[in-house]
């Protein structure tokens, strides 16, 4: 290797003459903790949800743009990675699927157009339908009450939804009760709280849809 005379010597690491001493390999993980990939699960979820999660090559753009990573236990790219590896339990028990706000930033920026918000929805629906325990119980409760109202009237009645939510989540009794009551009163005073629900006329289809 020749160097320009008078130039600074290259750092030792770049000098071929430097002896190569690779760091010792880390000890292998205990067998119980090692991940055993299970590819069948990926194919099944892809078919059911329509999300091509196998296309992810791990660039992490989704996670760099995600506004809610600060609260998540898995970053969005990890959700895809666990799916690819077939780590079902890790995914279905995580908070992340419930914290996704579906803001679509990840999908918009994904070079492979992996529809992460749809994947999160698919996982939420699967967990909720099985009746498994959910980390974000209040979020699930809010969604369930919302859908119940829609199934009944075809429209949302915000007064009933919020009332029901506060009763069942404890927000009507705990330390938040006063603040909630005050906000409700202000909204009423500003004419932004409707006292009577709207309902659509044709409701026959609701029974077929939500049976």
């Amino acid at each position: 290797m020749s160097h320009t005379p008078g130039g600074a010597a290259p750092p030792a690491a770049y000098d071929q003459a430097a002896p190569k001493t690779p760091p010792p390999p880390p000890p292998p993980p205990p067998l119980a903790e090692a991940i055993r990939p299970n590819g069948r699960w990926l194919a099944r979820v892809e078919a059911a949800s329509g999300v091509k999660a196998g296309a992810c090559f791990g660039c992490k753009k989704c996670s760099n743009g995600c506004p809610l990573t600060f609260a998540m236990d898995l970053h969005p790219y990890q959700v895809v990675r666990y799916l690819q590896l077939g780590q079902v339990e890790r995914l279905e028990g995580c908070r992340t699927i419930w914290l996704c706000a579906s803001c679509q930033t990840c999908l918009t920026r994904c070079p492979n157009q992996v529809d992460l918000p749809r994947l999160m929805d698919y996982l939420k629906e699967t967990v909720a339908r099985r009746g498994d325990s959910v980390e974000e119980k209040r979020t699930l409760l809010f969604h369930q009450l919302f859908l119940k109202g829609v199934a009944k009237r075809g429209r949302v009645f915000e007064g009933e939804l919020m009332g029901g939510y506060l009763l069942k989540s404890g927000g009507a009794f705990g330390p938040e009760a006063l603040a909630n009551a005050k906000l409700g009163l202000t909204m009423f005073r500003k004419g932004r709280l409707k006292l009577l629900p709207a309902r659509i006329k044709d409701r026959a289809w609701l029974k077929e849809l939500f049976k």
Partner: protein, 303 residues
């Protein structure tokens, strides 16, 4: 060209549930401004809820069917179908996209109403109102300048993304509201958080998340020298307006940023008489800002 102009003067309209209650100010300002501009909004007869976050989170079949029924109702009406709520818009446009490829999830009683989903053109209200010909008309007819307002335009997420669904080419840096506000005489301030998320429906179950996200928006808006935020989404408006005092306390600084719907400012500029009634429904009163900005006393004195 003429037919296109005429078509845009009479459109189908899907207000969505929250415009009947918490976002009444938005609904009233839309109606007031449309009437003043001579645009006829034909409300879909017997429309139903789009299902919002709840349906897309827990029941994919429901989210598709709820949208399919509304799209079917819109098939016979004038086009486009204009939608003021960004989430409703996103749900309807996403479902339409899916339904055009595969409508096998649609139940009989809804499929019977019509399956020509491609015939419905779903358009977000702020895109409709910021078309060049509408901006030109507003600019021509506006009688009240909005000189004192230093506005950052906040578009939020659901109306913009993903572009293959929303059709927004500039989804990372939209310009429509910026152009409209500039035409109304406001000082429009560019900022990088135009399409960042406010947390949307997390405000109920996880208000802490919304507070964190909204605090970032306030911080940046103030840093850029804005004195108000202008939005075209009622979830953004609610999250930025309803908890401002609490969030400011958590931030440990003073925040005074009235949050306007762009239609309210159109109403002020066009001197629609009911405009101050709409503004009176906000939790952060814009009175001090409007007074300071030199708007006439009748606009703000009762706020």
């Amino acid at each position: 060209m003429k037919t296109k102009q005429e078509a845009a003067r009479r459109v189908s309209y899907y207000p969505g549930c929250s415009l009947e209650a918490t976002a009444r100010d938005y609904a009233e300002s839309i109606e007031g401004v449309a009437q003043r501009l001579g645009i006829e909004l034909v409300e879909l007869a017997d429309w139903n809820c789009c299902g919002a976050s709840a349906a897309h989170s827990l029941d994919h079949r429901a989210t598709i069917n709820l949208a399919a029924r509304n799209l079917a109702l819109a098939m016979q009406g004038p086009q486009p179908l204009v939608v003021p709520c960004a989430l409703c818009f996103n749900r309807l446009a996403s479902a339409r996209h899916e339904l055009m490829a595969d409508d096998s999830l649609v139940i009989d009683s809804i499929g019977r109403l019509g399956r020509d989903y491609a015939a419905v053109e779903v358009k977000e209200l702020n895109e409709f109102f910021t078309q060049p010909e509408v901006i030109a008309q507003v600019e021509r007819e506006a009688t009240q300048g909005l000189g004192g307002l230093k506005a950052v335009c906040y578009y939020g997420c659901q109306g913009q993304r993903p572009p293959k669904i929303t059709g927004k080419a500039n989804c990372e840096n939209p310009q429509g509201l910026d152009r409209l506000l500039a035409a109304l005489g406001a000082e429009v301030i560019d900022w990088p958080f135009k399409t960042d998320c406010c947390g949307a429906s997390h405000s109920v179950a996880r208000p802490d998340l919304v507070h964190t996200l909204v605090a970032r928006l306030y911080e940046r808006a103030l840093m850029q020298g804005a004195n108000c935020i202008v939005t075209g989404c009622q979830m953004c408006q609610a999250n930025l307006d309803m908890y401002q005092r609490e969030i400011a306390q958590e931030m440990g600084r003073e925040v005074y940023l009235p949050v306007f719907y762009f239609t309210e400012l159109m109403g002020l500029a066009l001197e629609v008489p009911q405009a101050s009634k709409w503004l009176g429904r906000h939790l952060v009163s814009p009175r001090a800002l409007l007074e300071e900005s030199g708007l006439p006393r009748p606009v703000w004195e009762r706020l």
